[in-house]
């Protein structure tokens, strides 16, 4: 019998609902909150308000698109965190209400973990182990993934996430929020050798990242070279140089981790995985025998399909696992902060 999974994601500024049959996505509706642009960043209270406003419509559309009746749903999944707590609570509680009323199993699913499996959406099986880089506006983490239920963190960022650095530098350059995609676009026609921004090296932790230094370096570069007139900034060249420094650092450390652990499979996910500089940089390593996986672009930013896919994999892997099955997941809480141990 097939498993029909209904999943909800609301951890930041995207409200999303998806329906899956086994590992395959049948529908995935994402509603993004564009109004945050006016504020130059996400305002948590406004994000939560928008979630509760649209959630009914998004869910209804997900079922309509899927052509599935809600009676057929056999597993409910929702993003549990990390994320903005007020936003998370909306989707998380909606999902709990649904699971409770239908008397079906509920799973609180880790958002970051879902990103790292998002490269394989649609596949019934994944080949382990692999190295996973999750890189987004909130996180930059390097994982060694051994199975559906076990993985360990190799490296994390000491300060800013890579996507955050992109957005903040975009702001310095006078670009709109979110600036990441705009920098990518400008960089495609710029000269990456124009200026050498520093790549961070952290003593004693070869897989850890830091992006606050490069941000400051861009700030001073602009201050020193274009103190008054900002109208004639060589935007393309600055964007290209900045992007090449950030992606270079991400790629170098990921490849190093793969080499050190003798693993040839690499999965790169999260919002920044849509960056073409990062994609092309990684793909160069295919010649050296690495298999590089990216999520489809629709699954690189926040979406419910990845939550449902992760839930399905876990559900399948944990059947008969008493330790997992004996707790009541309905009573679990959403969490705002990253909870893993290194």
């Amino acid at each position: 019998m097939s498993t029909i999974t209904f999943a909800i994601e609301s951890s930041c500024d995207e409200t999303s609902a998806a329906v899956l049959r086994n590992g395959a996505v049948i529908s995935n509706i994402v509603s993004s909150q564009y109004f945050h642009k006016e504020y130059g960043g996400i305002v948590p209270e406004l994000a939560s308000r928008a979630h509760i406003q649209v959630i009914d419509e998004i869910v209804t559309r997900a079922f309509k698109d899927a052509g599935i009746d809600k009676d057929e749903v056999s597993l409910m999944a929702a993003s549990q965190g990390p994320g903005l707590i007020g936003s998370l609570l909306v989707g998380y509680n909606y999902a709990k209400g649904f699971a409770l009323s239908r008397d079906i199993p509920f799973m609180g699913i880790d958002h970051i973990e879902s990103h790292l499996f998002s490269c394989f959406i649609g596949q019934e099986e994944i080949n382990f182990p692999f190295i996973a880089l999750v890189v987004s506006g909130g996180h930059t983490i390097l994982f060694l993934v051994e199975s559906y239920l076990s993985y360990k963190i190799l490296g994390n960022t000491h300060d800013d996430a890579a996507g955050e650095a992109f957005d903040k530098v975009a702001k310095m350059l006078g670009l709109e929020y979110p600036g990441g995609p705009l920098i990518d676009k400008l960089a495609s026609t710029g000269n990456p050798q124009f200026h050498k921004f520093p790549k961070s090296i952290i003593k004693g932790s070869p897989y850890d990242f830091s992006f606050s230094g490069i941000k400051t370096s861009v700030l001073y570069f602009l201050k020193n070279n274009y103190p008054v007139d900002k109208t004639n900034l060589p935007l393309n060249d600055i964007a290209a140089s900045f992007q090449s420094a950030v992606t270079g650092s991400l790629i170098d450390k990921t490849i190093r981790a793969a080499k050190d652990h003798n693993i040839k499979t690499i999965a790169v996910s999260g919002g920044v995985s849509a960056n073409s500089g990062l994609r092309n940089g990684f793909l160069k390593y295919e010649k050296e025998g690495y298999s590089i996986y990216f999520p489809e672009k629709i699954y690189s930013t926040d979406n419910a399909a990845m939550i449902g896919y992760n839930a399905y994999l876990k559900f399948k892997a944990s059947v008969g696992n008493a330790a997992i099955n004996n707790v009541n997941p309905l009573l679990s809480s959403a969490y705002a902060r990253f909870k893993y141990q290194q």
Binding site: E38, R49, V90, N93, L100, N328
Partner: protein, 220 residues
């Protein structure tokens, strides 16, 4: 008529089933707070629901009554999100319950000639207030007691669930504290049944929190 009640107010959060004489109520305060969950009452509503469903079936309910505010922003949304999820799961409609009505409903009786001002704690020192004349709200908003004392007429009766009335006495209001009067459960179940009989049911998608206070965030 079998109704599910979800009340997400800070003080008396509960879930309940009302079905003629069969009534089951589970209060949030009946739960010892697990260490891992910080002291937010609304997040514990699911504990109430879980316990409630172990005592009583919710599959055959006719509608869901839920508090929509004003009150704690996140609290209201948690209760409402649960209600919406259940409404979708069971194909049921929602009875939105306004927290001012709920508080006023806790008085044993209301004199239509009197002017009442219902106060709900917002972020202190401010209160959410609604002024009732002839059982209709003529004015509502969020203000400090000082300003309310200046603007309200002397004959206004202040109604609320107060732990400490001393601050209000200072303002020379006549105060009706509902704390020891009708319980919030009785008041809510009365309102819900009345609305259900009058067919005042709303599609889940049209039920939204009542915020009253604008979220003030200055644009850069």
């Amino acid at each position: 008529m079998k109704l599910l009640l979800i009340n997400s107010t800070d003080k008396n959060a509960f879930t309940a089933i009302v079905h003629g004489s069969e009534q089951a109520v589970v209060y949030a305060s009946e739960f010892k707070e697990p260490e891992s969950i910080p002291g937010k009452t609304p997040d514990k509503l699911i504990h109430c629901l879980d316990k409630l469903t172990s005592e009583s079936d919710i599959k055959d309910i006719d509608a869901i009554a839920v508090t929509v505010g004003p009150g704690s922003f996140t609290g209201i949304r948690v209760g409402l999100a649960l209600a919406k999820g259940i409404a979708f799961g069971l194909d049921k409609k929602i009875i939105p319950v306004n927290n001012f009505e709920l508080t006023l409903g806790r008085l044993n009786e209301i004199q239509p000639d009197n002017t009442y001002c219902v106060l709900l704690e917002a972020k202190l020192p401010e209160y959410y207030y609604a002024v009732y004349e002839n059982e209709k709200i003529i004015k509502k908003g969020s203000e400090t007691l000082e300003i309310l004392a200046k603007t309200l007429g002397n004959d206004t009766i202040v109604v609320g669930d107060f732990d400490d009335e001393t601050q209000l006495k200072h303002c020379y209001f006549s105060v009706l504290n509902v704390k020891l009067r009708v319980s919030e459960f009785d008041a809510m179940s009365k309102i819900a049944q009345k609305e259900f009989i009058s067919d005042n049911l709303t599609d889940a998608k049209d039920v939204q929190p009542l915020y009253l206070k604008d979220f003030n965030f200055r644009k850069p």
